[in-house]
């Protein structure tokens, strides 16, 4: 009996010890939907390097439970400080509720900040238990803060709008790079490879998410245009959905464009060392449907083959020019060639790992493309 009473006590007492210390009711939390990190130019003697903006959402106002005009559904609060953590805690001096980061959707980095390197600014979000690995990471042209201030036409929360944009854009076009989460960026950064992050350009009521920011390590060194990102995804084999135009000879004033809807792309990178230099052969295979061709062009097998060959040439030319640009202008391997070397030419990789980007400049890259048009649709 005594033993039983003791057991019971020892089972009940820990409940009192805990005292619900973690308990914060859901309505007392302030959901942070998006944050923007910008570089702050400190005045003399002040030590604040970050301008940290958080977008808080008020659920009551979002669901129009309160109609008071001075409560808006979102609030973009900004604080400046020497570290992100300090900025977050500085927020507590102005926000009367507990900011909650587990629903954070997207981190927007300002251009100037990105040029200085972002690994330090993101460190907290890698470490903290309240943030997720799949938080999206984008680079803004200009200030990241102004992306939060965008007033989208159809959605109340701009952070949610920008984050949805990456998901929707991903499934419809290949104009933005597909590595968009901080987890993916962290993996790339720690394995020493470079990344391309989505680029957003900001307008008052919308943002455009297209193109890429070339990140050498954690530093922004340049931009990729929409078309270049598409080429990058041909090379990576991650072009899973989107459009590609086959240029035909324009006759007269009528544009003779044929557009293909790309459905799937696979690429293989073959490596070898020739005369002490790495040689890469990129073999790209893609397939898709004929999207637009003009009504008068009755397709025949021969015509389709011709179009496929045209397409091969276009993709090959664009891919080669992108690779050359990366070799000549930026000396940055964004294609993952280094990883292929590590896998297949380990001896070479071991000796050239340290200055791989310099060696990449002189590497020989061959691209071969094979595209298949699978469906032509109804044409009569």
């Amino acid at each position: 009996m005594k033993r039983r009473a003791l057991l019971l006590l020892s089972a009940v007492l820990p409940l009192l010890l805990s005292g619900c210390w973690d308990r914060v009711e859901i309505q007392e939390r302030l959901f942070v939907m998006a944050i923007a990190i910008d570089k702050n130019l400190p005045e003399k003697g002040k030590r604040s390097y970050y301008e940290y903006s958080a977008q808080f959402t008020e659920a009551r106002a979002l669901s129009s439970r309160i109609s008071s005009t001075n409560i808006s559904p979102i609030w973009n609060a900004t604080s400046t400080g020497p570290s992100i953590f300090e900025c977050i805690r500085l927020m507590a001096t102005r926000v009367a509720r507990q900011p909650y980061y587990e629903h954070l959707q997207i981190i927007i980095i300002g251009e100037e900040m990105a040029k200085d390197g972002i690994s330090h600014a993101l460190d907290l979000f890698f470490r903290d238990h309240e943030s997720r690995r799949n938080i999206k990471l984008v680079i803004a042209k200009g200030m990241g803060k102004s992306a939060l201030a965008v007033k989208p036409r159809l959605m109340p929360v701009s952070g949610q709008y920008i984050s949805k944009l990456t998901e929707e854009g991903e499934s419809k076009t290949a104009r933005l790079p597909n590595t968009v989460s901080i987890g993916q960026f962290s993996t790339n950064f720690h394995s020493g490879s470079n990344s391309v992050l989505p680029r957003i350009t900001i307008e008052p009521h919308e943002v455009k998410m297209a193109g890429g920011a070339i990140m050498k390590g954690d530093k922004l060194i340049g931009w990729l245009s929409d078309q270049e990102v598409k080429s990058l995804r041909w090379i990576n084999g991650t072009f899973s959905a989107g459009d590609e135009v086959i240029l035909q000879n324009p006759e007269g004033g009528i544009p003779g464009f044929t557009t293909m809807e790309v459905k799937a792309v696979r690429s293989q990178i073959h490596t070898e060392i020739r005369n002490g230099k790495p040689v890469f052969t990129v073999r790209i295979r893609g397939e898709g449907n004929l999207a637009e061709d003009g009504l008068k062009n009755n397709p025949t097998i021969e015509k389709l083959r011709k179009k496929e060959i045209q397409m091969n040439k276009i993709v090959q030319r664009k891919a080669e020019s992108l690779i050359q640009r990366m070799q000549k202008t930026y000396q940055t391997d964004i294609f993952g060639f280094g990883e292929e070397l590590r896998r297949h030419q380990y001896a070479y990789w071991k000796t050239h790992e340290k200055n791989w980007d310099q060696n990449f400049k002189d590497a020989e890259v061959h691209v071969s493309v094979e595209v298949f048009i699978r469906r032509i649709g109804q044409f009569k």
């Binding site: 805990s18 009711e25 959901f31 659920a59």
Partner: protein, 467 residues
Amino acid sequence: MDWVSEVTSRFSDSSDFQNSMVHIAGESFTLCFLDSLVDSHYIQDHILEKLRQNCVEVPFSPISTVDEAVSEILNGNLLIVRDCDQEAYFAIGSGLEERSIQESENESALRGPRDSFVESLRTNVSLIRRRYPDPELKVTIQELGRRTNTKVAMLYVDGIVNPNILDEVRTRLSTVDLDKVLDSGTIEQWIEDSWYSPFPQAQYTERPSNVLFAMLEGRIAIMVDGNSSVLIVPVTFSMLFQSPDDYYERWMIGTAIRIIRVAGAAIALTLPSLYIALISYHPGMIPTQLALSISAGRSEVPFPAFLEALFMEATLEMLREAGLRLPKVMGQTIGIVGGLVIGQSAVEAGIVSPVLVIVVAITAISSFLVPAYNGAIALRLLRFPLMILSGSLGMFGLLLGLMAILAHLVSLKSFGINYFAPITPYRFSDWKDLLVRAPLIYMKNRPEILHPLDQKRMNTQKRKKGW
């Protein structure tokens, strides 16, 4: 021996005791009986008629002791004493009115037999006997209860039931020494393995077909006179989710319904505590849009999720109990008061959030999915400790509680049979009748966990796969 005065002295101060003298063809007899138990028309029409026909040889069984005579009278029989030589006989009296066999109210079924047990032990045994006319169906009746001397019958199928289980049940029944045995529940509580457990270790049913089904699996039925619910032992946890309908319908339907029941039990047990844990501790686990709308809905609720949920769940239990006690006509009123008034106005008054009303409603509905009422109520009550745990420790507390329940279930036994079998200890052949109700011809064997003497349930050799 003066029978009449002996017996009359035993029944002193009992106004319903009658001893009346009749003269038939020059002989005089004294009839002793309780007029509360014997129909007077029956005496007139049958017993006196028989005495008239055979004056010399009395056509009734002789009796030798007074105790015997008293017990026969108490059982509703008549004591007949021939005055000339003081020979005593007893005649079987006809019982008075009893409830006729009706459709089962507590366990309704769409298909299959609908009759249900009544209060008379004799009728109840006959309901079984009629379905299973074979001497291997054994019925042993003993009288239990120090004062009430209630007849308790143990029914089993000889040749199927495992003798060890039978001995165990018999031994436990023989230890019953209560002053009154009015209900099978009293017997159940006396003979069960662990009374610290919320889970039922015996099943009760009102339907003869269920009893027969259980006996043919190798279980034992215990009937108590004056009681319409029959106990079935030993039971396992999986039996809480089984209903006779599962076997009458096609196997796919039976399986689907059974899976729904298990899901319902899981919801009834955990949903309120899951709600508390998610709202108070882990809003990150809720999808963003849902989190926002829950947050908006809770914005005016002044209580923590735990108190809010406790309040509504307690109200639900009160409504359920009130609905059970009230006459059926009033039941609808309770439904309206509970559903509309409390549900809607509590939300409008800002005491509870709309999401919680949904949670409570789903919990209530799913808790009624479990066919065994005593199992359902165990699950319903266990959700309150789980709510306290998740209200104080979050998801961690909920899992702690679930682990404790699981540990308890695994260690529990019912008449030597592991309660959580066949999940643990693992008996794969019995999984055919666990979550999935396998097609009839795949359930060739009786449940292995009961160790029946006769394993085979059927012979499928003659049956062709496609006719």
